[in-house]
Amino acid sequence: MPCPYGTAIPHRSMPRLLLLLPTATYRAAAFVEAARRLSVDLTVASEQPSTFAQAQPDRLLTLDFRLPEQAAAQARAFAEQVPVHGVVGVDDDTAVVAAAVAAKLRLRGNPVGAATAARDKYRQRVLLAEARVPVPRFARHRTTEDPHAVAAAARYPCVLKPLRLAASRGVIRADDPAGLVAAFGRLRAILEEPDVARCGDWAGQVLVEDFIPGPEVALEGLVTGGRLRTLALFDKPDPLDGPFFEETIYVTPSALPANAQQKIADCAQQAVTALGLWEGPVHAELRYNDRGPWLIELAARPIGGRCSGALRFGSREQGAGSSWVSLEEVVLRNALGMPLPALERERLASGVMMIPVPRGGVLREVRGLAEARAVPLVEEVAITAHPGQTLVPWPEGSRYPGFIFARGETPEAVVAALREAHRRLEFVLA
């Protein structure tokens, strides 16, 4: 199968990367640092102008991420002045824009249709089901429908989801018709919030799908030429059984048997192929039970939040252990057609906890940081919420107040360290 957009354009000694960074990203530091390590020229595009945009027009660009084709046209005009050799989007929306830019500039990337399908949970399920990738049975409804009629048609337990929101925002389990009616109203309220409602027609729709029992895993991968390479498989030791689906701990390597891991990787590859993804990072959520793997979601972007800090890879040039390559560096290298490192994750087990929102309220301070950081195996406790920030619990919320990272000899030891560090933290809310 040929690459949709040809091969990467041969570049000068200092290739230029167009990095699509939404202003609400956690990942600016990691991607900017990766670009520095690679000594590539960097242009950062965001949906809101930087205060330096006029002073540094080669380095800073403003693109409307809501309009991928228009953004791609702007990028092409920019590239006529400042040649661009690679493009990377870091989240669901910018992954689609990156695909449009890649198509316009004939760079490495995904077909626009594939990236668009990966972003839309309904479109994704349609394509996956057609390709016989195991997905939950699903149905799409408009928020204007009578929820009692929706409830009468559903199977239980089921899960209600918005078509596009990230971080499990608005995802609610219902165990019976009354629960579905309540969940439907709650999700509709989220979709009617101004920041969501203005995003498009998808905000007027709801996905209702079977709840799939079994442990959930997250697969981090890199697609090159349509072939998926698994970079890491994370277990999620806290059961995600609802009623809401706020993430907590990711730990790798997975404790699942090797044959189960292979089936999961095969399932993710099927999904990549079914969607038509060709080039770049993917993050997939799957469940595994006695019927095998189930593809819950697959996104054409790297892992969210600051969770990529849990991953590091051996450097082929300098030898594993002496220098590490970040996930962001892997992503940038691939986008620019640069040689990839070995893509072998470090030997140690590694984990991250997305710190749960303790309750709703305004954050005043976080106590116990020194004590949490003193827990053996804990490497970092990063509080990303700022004093004065309102913390909103799931399903309405989508912002974790921080992240805890740990490394150790075994996944069990890592998980225990993460839990102990979390136990020592106290969030003071008003």
């Binding site: 202003t23 956690y26 965001s46 930087s50 002073a55 380095r59 004093p387």
Partner: protein, 204 residues
């Protein structure tokens, strides 16, 4: 009289850099940056940090109650940080200055640094700060040592999700253009304490 309890909080920036916030002043004479064990001679705290086994420390910056350490080794901060904390406590308990005062012409670059400081300060005042002020931010020039600019971000820039973009794509680029003799930029901002960032992050 019992000496005050010294509290130290470690804030790793990444695997290579970590900030240590100390409840007592470590060095009151402005900012000092050390890029090698040789430069650390005469400053007991910094000598001790460079001597931490297996850390391969690359840089130490001390300013008031803030000690920033950069290392090359993959050893986690959870390990190195304890040794840094012990070094800080020992240096403060000794009763002697933990960090030597900066000499007017130390390292052979003092006069050059003074000249660079003036040029960078002028750039910050007349071009950089008016720009970041549009987002309620400000940039404070702390010092220039060995042609490395140390700065602190405040207001809307402190804790902002796009602070690194502002720093690398904006401020650093402006310095490269207008003061090309500058060799590097170090941000010593305590971003975790930012209470009003212009852009706040959300998981996607």
């Amino acid at each position: 009289m019992t000496p005050p309890e010294i509290r130290i909080s470690a804030e790793p920036v990444d695997i290579g850099r970590c900030k240590f916030l100390v409840s007592e002043p470590v060095h009151a004479g402005g900012v000092r940056r050390f890029a090698s064990p040789e430069e650390a001679k005469g400053s007991p705290l910094v000598e001790a940090i460079f001597a931490i086994p297996g850390a391969d420390v690359a840089e130490v910056i001390v300013s008031g109650g803030l000690v920033t350490v950069a290392k090359r080794s993959p050893t986690p901060w959870q390990v190195v940080g304890k040794a840094v904390g012990q070094a800080i406590r020992a240096a403060l308990a000794s009763g002697r200055p933990a960090v030597a005062a900066k000499l007017a012409t130390s390292g052979g670059g003092g006069a050059d640094d003074d000249a660079l400081y003036e040029r960078v300060a002028d750039l910050f005042e007349h071009q950089v700060n008016p720009m970041v002020a549009r987002h309620g931010g400000r940039v404070e020039l702390i010092d220039v040592q060995d042609a490395v600019v140390m700065l602190r971000l405040g207001g809307g820039c402190q804790g902002c999700g796009m602070a690194d973009v502002t720093l690398r794509q904006g401020i650093e680029a402006m310095l490269h253009e207008h003061v090309p003799d500058v060799k590097g930029v170090v941000d010593i901002t305590d971003h975790a304490a930012g209470s009003n960032p212009y852009f706040a992050a959300a998981k996607k």
